[in-house]
């Protein structure tokens, strides 16, 4: 095993937010709001700064050895099962760490303003810091178990923050739903871990951490026979965390939490954990074309499925939520076609613009006195100029308009889908379609929110105002990032260096190896590369045009000809619209097939019939009753009649005599 640099700063990236969370959480209301806010933001800031420091150190290393680790000792040590408590940073986790702490920091700042008047201020920041801790554990964890700690930790924070305003039962329910659905994913994840562990354990050398990513990568070949199973199980976990079909249902509900939470957890960071994990385990996924196919298929179907739902939603955050689901589908698609680097690239750009959009929507909601329904918004352009312009930038980025960040990542994804051996025309077409839909519904959102007349009540209207600087400043920064953030991945065909991909290349080397292998098998020639470049140009142009069309149509329909929307709504008797509005009735289907029957089964059959009736009633009390009744019946022999007693005596004697006669 190659030696690698150790970096004890790493642990503090993780631990500082934890300490801040602990302090903030324990002192809670005893801490003045300013102090609490400062503590929380400061902690994340420190974390960010440390991440940058370590990251820079990473950049100075030779490309192949970019890896630092920080081990805090054995976590679980039993027999030859050795799991360390440690953190590592390689190019992949470095990028993730920067995104998480960076965006997290901005959102923390934003929250200072957004949550300023909330009574749970201290609690909120404690949770947020705890989230950063968990997310960093997930990202920097040295092994799968550490990742799983973070994985569950972010789920917990998500739960706590969704249910932050627990007064409303719906929020609490949404939080619970998020946690539980994630747990379903974890079910697969855990099994995946077990499968890896049992496959690998007999082959480990002394002192090798069983689930350490380095070990896994090192021994990936051993796992080849069961790679498909492992990958599918792990992917089940990813569908939970990254809100893919069939476990995406929690994410839209999760919008019940405060908007910064939606931005941080349910857009920028946590939900991408699944993508991160798949990318992290790329060396396994590439071993199984089946698994890759499933990943790609689920990704693309999710992308288009969520996009269609987003078309009809009226809640501003719900639209963004479905959009997030859709974008996560893109990322999965990228992973599925082997373009892990691009997936992470999209993770990053998406973090920028989706955080921006959420924060912007938060600003809107803040201005509209917590109103989230777009149907009563409108005309906010003038009153919230900063919000509007930054929001628009985010929209353009999401719609994939050149030169915003989204263009680069999304375009790359579509291109890879098209060109990869694992992709093809059909996935590309679906992704392409989804991209147009995205542009359309985003424009719809923008128009309904910012353009036209305000449709709110006078009371609400009078309170509309631009948000404070703590909120707008992050918006601006994120807007800038949404613009320029994609440029680091400027692709080759446009004269760039695809620096982002190159940076990650060492992590995905095996993946690339497989892709190269596949290309070699299929006789990829140099000539084809030229053709590819042409093709790339064409596709990029098409997708840009397609995005613009989407935007245009959206603008046209909702700004000029609202009747079109109405007639679309009534298309086919309004059934398609209704289906979309009600999200394909998936929640209801789950409720009807699993939850309700499960509940009724448990209550009426298992508890009432099996437990109380059969086991307790029939077996336990029943046998007791039989004994008691036997006793009561036998008791009747004791009738007080001496003659009867004597008779039973004679019977006893007779038995003896008879027995003796027969035996003698």
């Amino acid at each position: 095993m190659e030696s690698h640099a150790t970096e004890s700063l790493l642990r503090w990236i993780v631990l500082v937010p934890l300490l801040a969370a602990a302090v903030g959480g324990l002192l809670n209301r005893r801490l003045p709001k300013q102090v609490a806010g400062l503590l929380a933001c400061g902690a994340v800031g420190v974390s960010f700064a440390l991440s940058v420091t370590v990251f820079l150190r990473l950049t100075r290393m030779p490309a192949a050895e970019r890896f630092v680790s920080d081990t805090m000792g054995t976590w679980i040590g039993f027999g030859n099962l050795q799991i360390d408590l440690g953190f590592t940073m390689d190019p992949l986790s470095g990028v993730m760490a920067l995104v998480v702490t960076g965006v997290g920091f901005l959102i923390h700042i934003y929250s200072l303003g957004y949550m300023a008047h909330d009574e749970g201020f201290g609690r909120f920041f404690a949770y947020m810091n705890l989230f950063i801790f968990a997310m960093m554990t997930l990202v920097l964890g040295e092994n799968m178990l550490m990742l799983f700690v973070g994985w569950e930790g972010v789920g917990l924070c998500s739960y706590l923050l969704i249910a932050f305003w627990f007064n409303d039962e719906a929020n609490a329910a949404a939080g619970k739903k998020a946690f539980i659905v994630n747990r379903i994913g974890d079910f697969g994840f855990l099994l995946g871990i077990f499968l890896i562990g049992t496959t690998l354990l007999p082959h480990l050398a002394e002192g090798e951490g069983l689930f350490s990513f380095r070990t896994l990568q090192h021994h990936a070949g051993i796992m080849a026979p069961v790679a498909t199973a492992i990958c599918l199980l792990l992917f089940l976990g990813a569908t939970g965390k990254s809100a893919q079909i069939p476990l995406y249902i929690w994410l839209p509900d999760a919008m019940a939490g405060p908007t910064p939470v939606s931005a941080l957890i349910h857009a920028a960071t946590m939900v991408t954990a699944g993508v991160y994990m798949v990318a992290r385990m790329n060396f396994l996924f590439v071993l199984s074309p089946t698994a890759m196919g499933v990943v790609a298929a689920v990704g693309v179907v999710t992308a288009i499925f969520a996009a269609t739902i987003a078309l009809t939603q009226n809640d501003i955050k719900k639209v963004l939520a479905y959009s997030t689901v859709s974008q996560l589908g893109y990322m999965m698609l990228a992973c599925g076609v082997g373009a892990f680097g691009i997936a992470i690239f999209h993770v990053m750009t998406h973090a920028f613009f989706k955080a921006l959009l959420f924060l912007g929507s938060g600003s809107v909601i803040h201005a509209m006195s917590n109103e989230k329904d777009m149907r009563v918004m409108g005309g906010l352009k003038k009153k919230l100029p900063i919000t509007f312009w930054t929001f628009l930038i985010g929209t353009l980025a999401l719609a994939g308009i050149f030169p915003f960040a989204g263009f680069f990542s999304k375009d790359e994804i579509l291109w890879k889908t098209f060109s990869s051996e694992l992709g093809g025309v059909l996935p590309w077409a679906l992704g392409f379609l989804a991209a147009g839909l995205t542009a359309f519904y985003m424009m719809r959102l923008v128009v309904l929110t910012f353009f036209g007349e305000n449709r709110a009540s006078a009371e609400v209207k009078s309170h509309i105002h631009e948000s404070p600087a703590t909120m707008t400043m992050p918006l601006v920064i994120l807007a800038v990032l949404s613009l320029v953030g994609g440029w680091i991945g400027w692709p080759h065909f446009m004269g760039g260096g695809a620096w982002f991909e190159q940076w990650l290349a060492p992590v995905f080397s095996s993946g690339h190896g497989a892709a190269a292998h596949g290309a070699a098998v299929h006789g990829a020639a140099a000539g084809e590369a030229v053709h590819d470049t042409m093709m790339e140009w064409i596709l990029a142009g098409a997708s840009l045009a397609w995005g613009l069309i989407g935007l245009g149509v959206g603008y046209f329909v909702y700004m000029k000809k609202i009747s079109i929307a109405t007639s679309l709504r009534n298309l086919g008797g309004g059934v398609p619209y209704k289906i979309l509005l009600n999200k394909y009735y998936v929640d209801e289907a789950y409720e009807g097939t699993f939850i309700r029957p499960g509940y009724l089964l448990s209550k009426n059959v298992l508890w009432k019939i099996v437990d109380a009736g059969l086991i307790d009633g029939l077996l336990v009390n029943g046998s007791a009753l039989v004994v008691a009744i036997t006793g009561s019946v036998l008791r009747l022999f004791q009738n007080g009649m001496v003659r009867f007693y004597a008779w039973s005596f004679t019977i006893g004697v007779t038995v003896f005599v008879l027995y003796l006669s027969f035996s003698g």
Partner: protein
Amino acid sequence: MSLITDHILTWVTFLPLLGSVLLWTIVRRDSHARIFALVVALADFVLSLHLWFHFDSSRGDDQFVEKVAWLFNGQISYHMGMDGISLVLVMLTTFLGPLVILSTWKAITDRVPEFMAFLLFLQAAMLGTFFARDMLLFYVFWEVMLIPMYFIIGMWGGQRRIYAAVKFFIFTMVGSVFMLVGILYLYFQAGSMNLFDFLEVALGHEAQLWLFAAFFLAFAIKVPVFPLHTWLPDAHVEAPTAGSVVLAAVLLKMGIYGMLRFAMPLFPDGVAFFAPAISILAVIGIIYGALVAMVQPDVKKLVAYSSVSHLGFVVLGLFSLTPLGVAGGIFTMIAHGLSTGALFLLVGVIYERRHTRQISEFGGLAHEMPVFATFFMITTLASVGLPGMAGFIGEFMILFGTFGSETLAHAKLMTILATTGVVLGAIYMLWMYQRVFFGKLANEKNKGLPDLSLREIAVLLPIVIFMFWLGVRPGLILDKVEASVATVLAPLNGGPILTDDPGHHALRAEPEPGQDHPVFIVRDTENQ
């Protein structure tokens, strides 16, 4: 000092009994009784710390052994010993002892000296059970344990306390009487009641099956394993808080301990024969317990059923026959002891205030009692096995161990089914939490409920600290039990997952290559 340290196990066991007797006879004032009991329990804890710090983790055999002839010319002896498995359970018991007593400060106002006496008596019996290395001694402690618990449930319990107490008593007796016959049979095969002599008896296949069934029944009822569990919810619901805590935290562990210490090593054929069936029951218990817990209207009953589910994991781990699964089971016992104990304490807190445990009576408590809500949340999370807390380590090890088990039939399928319990656990716990703590404060009676007092925090805080501590540093327990687990499993020819590769000597207590039989005991320590 050597008077104490030479007979440390006796002291640890009988100090509470002494306190109990004094409470019966001398200490009659309520306030005195409380303080006296607390002091005794604390003293016992301090004594047990001696065990913890002087325990040699590298050895899998018994330590601090005491052996005095008792009956039949020493064929039956007062034989006390302690290995790592006993150690951790003993520490759990003595650690919870003072906390439990402290928790009853306000809750028990009727016949306080008697209550404290019974609690201490119970503690003595439980400790004795963990130490006993003579089967009859074990059986005596095992049965004696019923008496104080029976009174605790029956005298200070809820509405249906009598039903619950009697059910508890008789249910447990049902199993143990058959075990007694089994013990007697073994006694005449071995010529002694000593566990280690039992281990050397060569039993026929059929005898092993019968004996294993007899032993297993006794322990399975105590655990409780699936169809034998119905006493548990009743006992839990009706018992006073302290009773529930002890019941959940320690008493249920007796069954597991018994399987591990006696039923499994003594009858390898029985284990081999029954393991598939038992693992199925365990899995049923996991899922069934969780599903039934989900629909309970009473918080305590919910927690009770959750115990059925959790202990299903432990049983599964045990019968995976892998060191990992077994160690995970032991770890889960501790973790479950902490988390479920804390849950019952918390339920007790709210019951003291509101005199109801119906979930529907609550809602929105997080407003009125934020500290309480926080403790409850932490405990809930510990219970559902959130990574980073104690529960996760155990569950992970169990499931991982089981998954890799090569002796257990359908191990993979069992693990997959069992893992659904992880999901279900989150469902019922969080749903309960949501209904109790979240939402609007709808019920007028819940307005203005006082938050946790300092005393209550003092009771809960140590437990919570350990939940985290063990979650981050499970080595605290694992190091102590590792060698002992190997010893216990040695008669079963080990779990393949960790030992089948000759290239690695995975376990420190693995026999030396040249040695044919693993050393169960170091006789020298007995004949001191």
